[in-house]
């Protein structure tokens, strides 16, 4: 049950070319930047990234795309400030892009993690994002059919963990992290602090350890300055 891995480089060492990788985070909060930078050092090709944004230089996701490591990005909002690599690669025809409404993006990931075969959402009906999608009228309202979305790997960022991989988040770090943790074959969590088993209360654990395969401690500098007990 002990899932602690010494370094981010070790945690991503087995990822092959062509792998699909989910990356949590929205903002900067909840982006596992150390794992992303370690992935970048692998110099892989043909990756499929599933990430809500477009990536920046700081978070390393922009760098992965600029490196040409990414064949396809499945995203919701890749047009935020700083997402220059996506724009350049996409407009040059070197990056495939699948854009989803944000609620559909997360719900497809949840469906994969929950073992569902698909679902109907009202979002996107009557828009260009509905093109090619099945429309079904249920109880008088039109819905689009959406399939589950899973990946080979998920990179998760959490605040605290125990050695079994139970995870706790703070503030808006959760975003996609607890959902992506359910929907990949190998789930790697980058956390600020790893404590002993039993250090987290049963109620505060947001991601139970059953979803997590590897845990790596990569504290952000500011976390060291906070009182250990406070959130």
């Amino acid at each position: 049950m002990d899932k602690v891995v010494a370094t981010c480089d070790e945690a991503v060492a087995d990822i092959p070319n062509g792998a699909s990788i989910m990356i949590g985070g929205f903002g900067p909060p909840g982006i596992p930047v150390h794992l992303v930078h370690a992935l970048r050092r692998r110099k892989l090709r043909d990756l499929v990234l599933i990430y809500c944004g477009g990536g920046t230089d700081e978070d390393g996701i922009g760098g992965l795309i600029a490196d040409g490591a990414v064949r396809k990005l499945i995203s919701s909002y890749p047009t935020h400030p700083g997402a220059t690599a996506v724009r350049e690669r996409y407009l040059a025809g070197e990056l495939e892009l699948e854009v989803l409404p944000q609620g559909t993006f997360v719900e497809r990931i949840r469906a994969a993690g929950a073992g569902l075969g698909g679902f109907y959402t009202p979002t996107g009906v009557g828009t260009e994002l509905a093109e090619g999608k099945e429309v079904r009228v249920i109880d008088g309202r039109a819905y689009l059919f959406e399939l589950p979305l899973r990946a080979d790997y998920a990179f998760i960022k959490a605040y605290r963990a125990d050695r079994w991989g139970n995870l706790v988040y703070r503030r808006t770090m959760r975003n996609f992290n607890p959902i992506m943790a359910t929907a990949a074959d190998v789930v790697i969590a980058e956390v600020d602090e790893v404590g002993p088993v039993g250090a987290l209360s049963p109620e505060e654990i947001e991601t139970p350890c059953i979803f997590v395969d590897r845990v790596v401690e990569a504290p952000r500098p500011w976390v060291r300055q906070r009182p250990a007990t406070g959130r």
């Binding site: 929205f26 903002g27 900067p28 909060p29 909840g30 809500c52 477009g54 995203s75 919701s76 909002y77 890749p78 047009t79 935020h80 400030p81 997402a83 996506v86 724009r87 996409y90 407009l91 892009l97 854009v99 989803l100 409404p101 944000q102 609620g103 559909t104 997360v106 719900e107 949840r110 959402t121 009202p122 979002t123 996107g124 009906v125 009557g126 828009t127 260009e128 994002l129 605040y159 703070r170 503030r171 808006t172 770090m173 959760r174 975003n175 996609f176 992290n177 607890p178 959902i179 947001e206 952000r220 500011w222």
Partner: protein, 230 residues
């Protein structure tokens, strides 16, 4: 006199009832919180997982783990909660928000909304716009009446890609408050010294003037913030 951007936000804020749960878009909608009348409790939802988002954090006091959906470092009000994106979009799509106040590129007279992209060879990026437009119980638009180049934003048919069809209930602009009832565009209020003809001239859709047409009651400024353009 037309309203300033802050004036539009002020006018919207006064229509949000006590106890509302509201998602605010970027631009003019994000200014609404400044003008909530005292005594009303209105909780702001942010799609990245906040109910009860507060003002921006003072410089130097930003929490690196706490942003809103616009990427601003914000604060939390007492009684706020944080959650993941699945629950956040269950709130949105499930009809739990009483109101969403959104910006617009175009609104049609039947309530179609276009606010996520302009046509052309650009990177598409939709974010939560489509979910919010179909999910909130009332979708209000807060926008300038025309573009910077003077083109009407309220049109018979949107030429820009739709965010959602037939979702907008009200439009608040610098010139007027309009409602969309039974797929008809109704002029409800005009800004001070603005006539229905002024509004119609800047609107590219058939306008019905409400029999109860009112002139907005709005101060010229509040706390040093101008609400009416000079």
């Amino acid at each position: 006199m037309p309203l300033t951007r802050e004036g539009i936000a002020y006018r919207v804020a006064h229509d949000l009832p006590d106890g509302s749960y509201v998602n605010l878009g970027v631009g003019i909608p994000s200014l609404v919180t400044r003008f909530i009348p005292p005594g009303r409790i209105i909780l702001i939802h942010s799609e990245n997982g906040i109910l009860g988002a507060g003002p921006k954090a003072p410089p130097g006091e930003e929490d690196p783990d706490l942003v809103n959906a616009n990427g601003d470092f914000v604060t939390l009000v007492p009684g706020a909660s944080v959650f993941d994106h699945a629950l956040s979009f269950a709130i949105i799509r499930g009809g739990h928000l009483t109101h969403a106040v959104l910006g617009a590129l175009q609104v049609s007279s039947r309530g179609d909304l276009a606010n996520w992209r302009v046509p052309g060879p650009r990177v598409p990026g939709v974010g939560g716009a489509m979910d919010i437009a179909v999910g909130a119980r009332q979708v209000w638009v807060a926008t300038t009446h025309t573009t910077d180049r003077g083109e009407p934003k309220i049109v018979e048919e949107c030429s820009y890609p739709l965010t959602a069809p037939r979702c907008v209930r009200r439009v608040y602009t610098d010139l007027a408050v309009l409602s969309i009832r039974d797929e008809r565009l109704v002029l409800e209020e005009v800004a001070p010294d603005v006539t229905p003809d002024d509004v119609a001239a800047r609107t590219a859709a058939t306008l019905t003037v409400s029999p109860q047409l009112r002139v907005m009651e709005i101060p010229a400024e509040i706390d040093g913030i101008r609400l009416l353009a000079s």
